[in-house]
Each structure stands twice: as C-alpha cells, then as structure tokens.
Amino acid sequence: MKRITVPAHTDRLDEVLTFVDEAMINTEMDAMTKNDIRICVEEIFVNIASYAYPAGEGEVTLGISCELWQTAITFADSGMAYNPLAKSDPDISLPADDRDIGGLGVFMVKKLMDEISYRYENDENILTIKKACVRHPAYS
C-alpha cells in the first residue's frame, strides 16, 4: 500500500490527486473507473479538509492499494469523530428550485464506489472505499 500524509487543506487537493493518479497509472482500470475514483478522493479529502479540524490544523493520511481486481483507498484523520455514512441521502428527484446544495459529495461516493466503510479507531476517523478494477472472470 502506498501512503501520503498532507495537511488537511483544500489547497493540497492537486497533490493528493497526483498521488492517486500515479498509483493508478499501471493498472488495468479504464478511464471511467479512474475518473470515478478521482471524484471520490476529491469529495472525501475536501470533506475532511473542511470539517475534521474546526479548531485548527491537522493532517490526513491516504493509503492506496491497486490490486488486479480492486483498488482500495483509506483516509485517516485525527479530527473530530464523524461518520459521513450516517448522513441521509439527498432527494435527487426534486426540481432545481427545491434542491439543496449540501450532501452531494458523500452521496456521489456511495453511488460511484462498490464499497464504503467507516470506523473510529485509536482516535482516528478511518474511511475506506473500494472499487472493482476489471470484471473478475468468475462473474463474467
């Protein structure tokens, strides 16, 4: 697993996405799958950068492992305990004028990834997302 630790600041987003791109470069994933993963990394990183450390500075550690069948990415921060999966999904059937601007990021992660899990352990928020890379022959 490759790891990077950066300050939890939105201005570090490009650095984080470059790290993820480099980790995915020699994988079998198609462009759409890589794009989905980039979106989810942005959504989660920006959420942590925006909300995890209300009192000041903190860090986020990203770990990524690209296996043949699956990519897994883990985000760890020592900010305030927060389970993003506990938030209710936005109502996506509403017309524009009734739509709220919040809650879309986590919803997109839920929709785009195959698995998402959260745990609070040793004073850390740990969020893991997983996405199948290519179709496993057992299911094709």
């Binding site: 959504e43 524009a96 601007i101 929709k111």
Partner: protein, 99 residues
C-alpha cells in the same frame, strides 16, 4: 480550468476546458453569474470537460436556479459520458437543460 467566452446576439457561450472541481468551481461561478445577468441565454459547452465534482454540481445548480428566477435559459451541451454518469446518478440530468 479555462473558460472561453463568446457572445452572439442575446446568447453567451461559455466553453469550459479542464476540470470543474473544488479549486476551479469558484471561477466558473463568477463567470456564470455574470453571464446570466447579462444575457437571455447562456450555453455551457462541456466538450472539453473531463471531470465534475460536487463543487461543480453546486455551481450548475446555482446557475440553473438563477436562470429560473430571472426567467432566462441555461443550457449544457456536448457532455462526455464520464460527466453524464455523474449528472445521472445525482439526478442533475433531470434538472438541467441538456442538449
């Protein structure tokens, strides 16, 4: 991200090149608000947009709401399959005028 603006009669076309993400979406918001206030119709050309995150969706929603309030038209065209996937799963394909 780069935005190329072109105005003809009552329509302004914003051709967006690159990613619409947390970092770049405020720039689009500024231009979009101005275009909607100045023109009857605003066309967003997404041919060169590879990526839209929720920050970008928020700007599109804000633009659509502003256009509705001002009784103007906002259109999004030439959407790639990657961006369309995001619009579909978030229900945005139902609230934007897509051509």
């Amino acid at each position: 991200m780069e935005i190329i603006r072109m105005k003809t009669d009552d329509t302004e076309t914003l051709s967006i090149i690159g990613r619409i993400d947390t970092i770049t979406s405020p720039q689009l918001q500024t231009v979009l608000v101005e275009a909607i206030s100045l023109c009857e119709k605003v066309e967003l050309d997404f041919a060169e947009v590879s990526y839209v995150s929720s920050a970008g969706l928020r700007v599109l929603l804000m633009g659509q709401k502003s256009a509705n309030t001002a009784e103007k038209k906002m259109i999004v065209k030439n959407i790639s399959s990657q961006v369309m996937e995001v619009l579909n799963i978030t229900g945005f394909s139902g609230i934007l005028n897509i051509v």
